[in-house]
Symmetry: C2
Subunit: 248 residues, 2 copies
Amino acid sequence: MYMNTLLNHKTIRKYSNREVDNDTLNEILTAGTRASNTGNMQLYSIIATRSAEVKAKLAPAHFNQPMITNAPVVLTFCADVNRYNKWCALRNTDPGTDNFESLTTAIVDAVICAQNVCVAAEEKGLGICYLGTTTYNPHQIIEALNLPKGVLPVTTVTLGYPAEDPAMQLRLPLGAVVHSDTYKDYSDADINAYYSEEESDATNKKFVAENQKENLAQVFAEVRYTRAASEAFGKILMDTIRKQGFIK
Amino acid sequence: MYMNTLLNHKTIRKYSNREVDNDTLNEILTAGTRASNTGNMQLYSIIATRSAEVKAKLAPAHFNQPMITNAPVVLTFCADVNRYNKWCALRNTDPGTDNFESLTTAIVDAVICAQNVCVAAEEKGLGICYLGTTTYNPHQIIEALNLPKGVLPVTTVTLGYPAEDPAMQLRLPLGAVVHSDTYKDYSDADINAYYSEEESDATNKKFVAENQKENLAQVFAEVRYTRAASEAFGKILMDTIRKQGFIK
């Protein structure tokens, strides 16, 4: 049942050779477009890449993570006001979408669509992997996929039949991320309690030891997601947003 | 079955008096947290508001749309680096999240979580409505929900048992939003073809007549989502992002 699909989600990074047929792909993409979106403007596009040549062009933007070239389908979800702008131009009106609010609306809608696609894919027996690298090197993706002005890649999903069955990932306790009525800020004791399960997990302890750090937070902040990298990627992202016409 | 849930989604704006019990709410929120997220950092929070007093404070930020006060539960999904920052501080490391890249990562993760919650809710027989107004007046939501620095509201979902059964909304044909391998830009003929069903829809024609416009695109661009409004909201949003500590 579908509730099991949601509750048992695992990211799949290794795919079998089995192709994803067009009917299946179209059905899961249709599930994406049925999701809620702002004002029914559908300010997003999905680039479904199967070509080995285009995947090879995309790979460096994703730091050559093997999912890009190994997955039968790579889906790049984009905020897209270009189609809407062309419609408005043909209908003699000013779209007024060259601003940060329109971009944010389009980003939210693109991600809502992406997650529906992922749920549909998993229900069909496919495995998915989101690639956060999409917002690290958006300029390279724009070039690889010929994205015009008004289009910004937001997230990428690789798709294929699973060739692995990894363990479920831990999550923070529900109370750590849900607040009742208003936001209750965290005490030191709250933080210690909420992160204790992840910190005492054997796999996480191994990461701490391998990286010669004192604790798991240091692995995140000093190895995986450093200030220097985030600041550099943030600058590229903002420059790309400007270049794509969303900020003057 | 779940595929039907995805393919038959309808936004529900009117809710019955039936309460959403805590077990049901916790199960659908758990489905949200099982979704993919960047590096398992879970850089989001969900504020689940049931209190009439807090809903009354939230309502003006959403232009007093009746769903806020009528729905038994209002879920505000936030990008949240505050919890992670506090963890890093306690573990003697620099989170490095005060930048636009970390914010964008957190926004994507918050929306992925939100859509899983919506799918789970609909499968449980609940109805949902996304409120795009969340990014119009984020400063008011921050005040109503006591959101600290490092937290930005991204989208809002109202939740309750349906007291209406609206018609399915039209969507653009799948070919309008899906591109094979790379982006194929739209010709005028493409645009005319892709928007023809929406433009010839009787309900949409009524909107055009009621608003004394020439066509549907003008209703969108001149009545519903004007340049002036988008630019004003975009400025508020960017100022709020700065104030919450994501841009220097």
